[in-house]
């Protein structure tokens, strides 16, 4: 018997890992109130992160559109001939603040408009009804105010468009979203950490005898700690799954609404939403990443404070 008793090894799985999964589910069910509370807090936190994350993602996705807001459009009097148009261009170039300048002729402008509106609306119209224009980017955006005033005073310039206010608004909004979302997410994250850690602490208290036995029979630290870490991961995983399903369903609905009614709204026109597949993939990756890390951290917290191995 002595020879046969030496069947131990330092390595190798014995099905204990599968056994742990069953024990984890049993323990979570035993403390189901606290388990559900922990999962709920994770879901709320992740949805908050998700909503603001999608908002920021959308802003980033539309960065080209945002860049366009920094461009200055200088519209030339439709009566001006080529000579007068050249004079305006020369005056603009002489200013020295311009990084680049592009001329859009009446014909080009008409072609651009044809892409935006159905044919029947433009029937009978020619390119003459549209003015030629210059699109200008400055070296320094801070000069924009002065430059616009300068351009407005030029002969044959009848209008100058600059969407700085829209860009500033979007930029400020983005900053505020970062601050508010970030703070709320951190608070909710800490709350979730606390709740998950407490759930695991409760399990440890209920299994203190088992832990003592495991210590004395020579179970390794990782073997003793593994069930509790798995518990934290499981709570995180379930929270992420629920939050992902809610977010992806919600975004899908919003995306469909946007494609029908939403794009008619003035403030939304020109804005593009991140395609559903791209968004949903990002949502799942981020949610599962955050919640599993949170689960592991929470269980480590509980173990460090209440489990002496």
């Amino acid at each position: 018997m002595r020879e046969e008793l030496s069947g131990m090894s330092r390595k190798g799985a014995t099905g204990y890992e599968m056994h742990i999964i069953g024990e984890v589910i049993t323990n979570l069910f035993k403390n189901r109130v606290l388990t559900l509370t922990s999962i709920f807090s994770i879901v709320v936190m992740l949805i908050l992160v998700g909503v603001f994350g999608v908002f920021l993602l959308t802003l980033s996705y539309n960065s080209e559109y945002m860049d366009d807001m920094l461009e200055i459009r200088i519209f030339i009097d439709p009566e001006a001939d080529d000579y007068r148009v050249s004079a305006v261009e020369e005056a603009l170039l002489d200013d020295g603040r311009i990084e680049y300048i592009a001329y859009i002729s009446k014909e080009q402008a008409f072609e651009n408009v044809k892409e935006l509106y159905p044919e029947e609306i433009l029937e009978g119209l020619g390119s003459d009804f549209l003015p030629a224009s210059f699109t200008v980017r400055l070296r320094e955006d801070t000069d924009a105010g002065n430059f616009v005033a300068f351009a407005e005073n030029l002969n044959d310039v009848y209008r100058v468009d600059y969407h700085s206010r829209s860009f500033d608004f979007a930029s400020n909004l983005s900053n505020w979203v970062n601050i508010v979302a970030g703070s709320l997410s951190i608070l909710l994250g800490l709350l979730s950490l606390f709740l998950v850690s407490n759930t695991i602490k409760l399990t440890m208290a209920g299994r203190s005898d088992e832990v003592i036995i495991m210590k004395f029979i020579g179970a390794t630290e990782s073997r003793i700690k593994m069930p509790f870490i798995m518990e934290g991961i499981t709570i995180g995983f379930i929270g992420a799954l629920i939050a992902s399903l809610i977010m992806s369903y919600g975004y899908n609905r919003f995306f469909n609404w946007f494609g029908t009614e939403g794009s008619g709204e003035i403030f939304l026109s020109g804005l593009r939403l991140v395609p559903v597949k791209e968004s949903v993939l990002m949502i799942y990756l981020v949610f599962f990443g955050i919640s599993i890390v949170l689960g592991i951290l929470a269980s480590q917290m509980a173990i460090r404070r209440h489990l002496k191995v």
């Binding site: 046969e4 008793l5 069947g7 131990m8 090894s9 190798g12 014995t14 036995i213 179970a219």
Partner: protein, 226 residues
């Protein structure tokens, strides 16, 4: 097997649990450690199990200086020591079979080997017929037998029994001690910490007496009071 060399243990509270203890227990030996509560018996066991480290002196267990055992090697060190407790410390939601198997499963023993070894271990302690019973369905003596089977599952070099008969009646106590003695006869060094005068006198083995942290008597074939 166990070598205490001028070992002192002072807890953080300032309590001096062991004072300049010199003790040697040879491989294969059977020894009782007796003494009143607070004499240092539990501390001695904790030091041997590497639950605590001595504050002074040297302690060697199975040829190893316990101070040199790295944290990650402690589990492997403990696998060579079997322990039974006064309150048995069985898992109430597991049968006798499962309690013994648990100890083997925790230490990476393959399932096929577990299925072979557990019946053998339960046979050694005379409980093969009770494999499927839960601790609550067993007597105190039977539970302690299961605990013994679990303690020897890893073929330990040393078996420590901390008040193994504390919750048992005299007849059952004697049965358990006979079993422990049988394990000793198979080559395992045995150290029994006890208050039980009856069994100490019945077995007439080495008796080490502790009092206020010191060894006051160490006789080869001792009795409790003499």
């Amino acid at each position: 097997m166990i070598n205490f060399s001028n070992v002192t243990m002072v807890y953080r509270s300032g309590c001096e649990a062991l004072k300049n203890v010199d003790l040697e227990i040879a491989r294969g030996e059977f020894a009782f450690v007796i003494g009143p509560s607070g004499s240092g018996k539990s501390t001695m066991i904790k030091l041997i199990m590497k639950e605590e480290e001595p504050t002074g002196g040297e302690l060697f267990v199975n040829g190893q200086d316990v101070r040199d055992i790295h944290r990650y090697d402690i589990p492997y060190f403990r696998r060579k020591i079997g322990v039974v407790f006064q309150d048995f410390k069985l898992l109430k939601n597991k049968t006798a079979y499962q309690n013994v198997a648990f100890a083997l499963r925790m230490t990476n023993t393959k399932p096929r080997q577990i299925r072979k070894m557990v019946p053998q271990l339960l046979s050694v302690v005379g409980l093969l017929g009770k494999s499927n019973e839960y601790p609550t369905e067993m007597s105190g003596g039977e539970q302690q037998r299961v605990a013994l089977a679990r303690a020897i599952a890893h073929n330990p070099d040393l078996l420590i029994a901390d008040e193994p008969t504390g919750n048992l009646d005299p007849d059952t106590s004697l049965e358990i001690m006979n079993l422990i003695y049988k394990i000793n006869q198979m080559g395992t060094t045995v150290l029994v910490a006890t208050h039980d005068k009856t069994i100490v006198d019945a077995f007439r083995r080495r008796v080490i007496v502790l009092h206020e942290g010191r060894i006051v008597r160490d006789v080869p074939e001792g009795r409790y009071g003499v």
